[in-house]
Amino acid sequence: MPKVFKTTGLIGALITILSVSVWAAFPKPVGYVNDFAQVIDRESAAKITELATGLREDQGVELAIVTIQSSRPLTPKGYATELFNDWGIGGPEDSGLLILLVTDEREIQVEVGYGLEGVLPDGKVGAILDEAVIPYFSKGEYGKGLLGGTKAFRAVLADEDYETKERDDEFLASFVIFMIIVVAIYLSYRRGSKGPGGTVFRTGPVYPGTIRPRRSSGGPKRGGGGFGGFGGGRSGGGGAGRKF
């Protein structure tokens, strides 16, 4: 009898997962700059990508710039929050930042990951938008405005470092797990039973929302070079927005 219930529960869970994924039909990220509305000029896009790559390598902060035409049926802020969590911008320390431009509504929304709320309180985000972004936007220069915002955010985050901490913790944790597995296999061998194969070590954890597998194994370490997808970062509606 309980087996039947378990199956029902499983099917229920499956249906829930399916319906959620159908509802959240977000585009997949193509890089740090996701110009879906096609309003960013090439030069600015290249500069933003360069800055974002630097942010990730030096500060461990993941920045995503997204432009869309409309956020319907969600509000721009609601869209930003959902998209942030769907993509998982910011990695294990939730050190992510999403700048969302909705062209039809003429609105910009910045979503700040949990990990950055301390350095980027909403008031500061609003001030950055007023000073570095909106002046360009009111002239219709979206690319320059987003570049200005990226520069300003990078300046604020210049002294932050989310990478080292993560790496240390991660190294320690994976080392402990590694030792436990080694001991377990050693013990099972001694008892003459068949231990699990060596493949166990090669599989890294699966991160929902990761688009492409990361280069390094064993978790979202930030390697140098190109865009390796976001994964794991969360936010809860922090940040600020402006209509222009």
Binding site: M1, P2, F5, K6, G9, K77, G78, T81, P121, D122, G123, K124, V125, G126, A127, D130, I134, G236, G237, G238, G239, A240, G241, R242, K243, F244
Partner: protein, 184 residues
């Protein structure tokens, strides 16, 4: 005869395992609801902490609008004093309304609207409203899941056995649907 006992034993064992797994599932769901509510409380508290600063800034420009200030102070202390979730939700809704009036008031004072610290506070407040909205949604999702689970067969039996009851949703007040926005 012996066979009968063994079968009865197996049936009891299977039932016990079934109840145990259902119960554990319920514990998980209920803990989730509580955790979500704690997040809502965090954000409500955060907003309550912002309000004195906001009120003081507005007072600097519009000191004679006493009515709105007392209303906010009353709603705020009601929120902080409210014990159980449903009382807090109610107090929060009246605070929402009072805050809406305070922000609408700013429209009449151009210097206040241009004040940098007021703009900052308004951003903080809007951000907190957004956070409350997000946490409220997550809380309501967990409540929905919980309420549905404890009403469904066979969980309803286990839920009744351990007297688990449904939880209230956090409905937003009509006036609070519109999150205050800073426009230029």
């Amino acid at each position: 005869m012996k066979k009968g006992w063994i079968i009865a034993g197996i049936i009891i064992l299977v039932l016990a395992i079934g109840i145990a797994s259902q119960y554990n599932n319920l514990v998980n769901l209920e803990t989730n609801v509580d955790a979500r509510w704690a997040q809502v409380e965090n954000q409500l508290q955060r907003r309550a902490d912002l309000i004195p600063n906001l009120v003081n800034t507005v007072k600097g420009y519009a000191s004679h609008e006493e009515g709105v200030f007392t209303e906010i102070a009353a709603a705020r202390s009601r929120l902080l004093g409210a014990g159980d979730p449903s009382a807090r939700m109610e107090a929060n809704n009246s605070l929402d309304m009072a805050l809406g009036r305070l922000l609408a008031l700013a429209e009449n004072y151009p210097e206040l609207k241009a004040d940098t610290s007021f703009v900052r506070l308004q951003d903080e407040l809007a951000g907190t409203e957004n956070r409350i909205a997000v946490e409220r949604m997550r809380y309501n999702d967990s409540v929905e899941n919980w309420n549905r689970t404890i009403k469904r067969f066979p969980t309803v039996i286990v839920a009744g056995l351990f007297s688990k009851t449904s939880r209230p949703f956090f409905e937003a007040a009509e006036s609070a649907r519109e999150v205050p926005k800073v426009e230029f």
